[in-house]
Symmetry: C2
Subunit: 270 residues, 2 copies
């Protein structure tokens, strides 16, 4: 909980009874690529002044009112009773963030962009509100890059993750035909990305942005599912990936999560 770099709505009034009140609460889950998108954005911003509440998806805590939400990894001020996740996320999913002011936001990419803008993480293009044509165009190309990630990459990569990763936890067999079709789409995407990344260093241009962050959890999942060659067999794509995962904050978080995953797997084997 070091180095808070935030203004905190409600901090002054709440300080008397909760001196360590964090800036906001992130509701998510371990192993959730959507949650990890937000955590990676916060890591890149060097922002630690938040509370991370884990919901147990296997118990369906994202869809109902949990009587208990534990553990809280970042803060001891953990709510033992909290409102239903459906009041935070009407579609019953994760992640969502809530502020002491009551402001609540869901959808991982919207959360990342909001946090980057609010706390001035250097992960966004210049604002279009200047009215300068160059900035309007830069923002439009950034929106385009976000749409590409969502439609051409995350959609099929998410299917692979669901079939080979999520279904394992649900005790269901993977649909191999779905995996094969999705893998073909992911490969087609990276064929185009390979050409794009020969002309620019990152997915939305010359700078590392939240759009690159958006890719990281599902690319990691592809590696975990045994499809790392999709990345490693393409020179420019692989160089981009290396640039991403060699960023200190990203590397640190992935290493820590890898440690957690290994420990969890070891615990299961006992």
């Amino acid at each position: 909980m070091s180095n808070p770099i935030t203004n905190r709505p409600g901090f002054v009034s709440k300080a008397l009874r909760a001196p360590k009140m964090p800036a906001f609460t992130l509701y998510g889950s371990r192993g959730s690529t959507n949650t990890d998108r937000v955590r990676l954005t916060l890591a890149e911003g060097g922002f630690t002044d938040y509370e991370f509440v884990l919901l147990n998806l296997q118990k369906g805590e994202q869809k109902v009112s949990p009587s208990r939400e534990l553990p809280n990894l970042n803060n001891i001020n953990n709510p033992t009773q909290s409102p239903s996740n459906l009041t935070r996320h009407p579609f019953g999913k994760i992640p969502a963030i809530t502020f002491p002011s009551g402001f609540t936001l869901y959808e991982s990419r919207a959360i990342c962009t909001y946090l980057a803008r609010k706390y001035s993480f250097p992960l966004l293009p210049p604002s279009p509100a200047t009215g300068i044509e160059h900035d309007l165009e830069a923002t439009a190309l950034f929106d385009q890059a976000q749409s590409v990630e969502t439609h051409y990459f995350a959609e099929p990569a998410g299917k692979i993750s669901f079939e080979l990763f999520a279904k394992k936890f649900m005790g269901l067999p993977a649909d191999k035909a779905v995996v094969a079709q999705a893998l073909k789409a992911v490969e087609g995407f990276f064929d185009v990305a390979e050409r794009m990344l020969q002309e620019r260093e990152y997915m939305a241009g010359r700078e590392f942005t939240v759009v690159d962050v958006f890719y990281i959890p599902l690319v990691q999942r592809l590696f975990a599912c045994g499809y790392g060659d999709v990345i490693q067999s393409r020179g420019a794509v692989n160089a981009w990936w290396e640039r991403c995962v060699n960023r200190p904050a990203i590397r640190k978080m992935l290493a820590e999560d890898g440690g957690v995953a290994v420990a969890a797997a070891a615990a299961k084997r006992v």
Copy 2:
């Protein structure tokens, strides 16, 4: 070609040889919900100073260099030779827009947002660049609403459209299991939307925005596929839909396109 409300990059220098040079060219297709998203945005903005070039998807013109791109519905200055669509859209899809300055953009939602911002169509939330917390939050909720449309509505609704509409043109049978599963997801989405629309008039808040525009083509397609009851059986959703399609610009475009569709169907029967 009346009422151009634009600044036109390159207009002065090109005016000598092309006095009617439009502000930009939209490459798309009839019956393409992605193209219609852009056309509806332009219709709402009352903007007609653009050239609309139709690509023949059945001939694969979106993926290769077409020798001929006809017809041009909005302007007689039609290029008889043009670069490959792949130079405009590296994923070989539509729509894309190009400006005389060379600026090119693809992904329908990014195009709509860019055009609304560039030409000041009243379809966007206040800009977050003011730094005012309220505007930051308004923009975040707008981003959230866009993400909801993409992930919870367009993804399954697009599958229904592909199975029951696109596949017909490809001479392929619909996969009924895919349709049934997607329909269930669309119904689940509108169950949540029903509660949301009891508290606000439009998908992103109290005002009609591009997010509502984003829904229109695929909702229309659901009606065309015989699933209009998904809308009409839900009071608040149906009231929202009525508000959308009763907007003069939307009503006019849908009526015109309906006329084209009827004429095309009649021509096929001859």
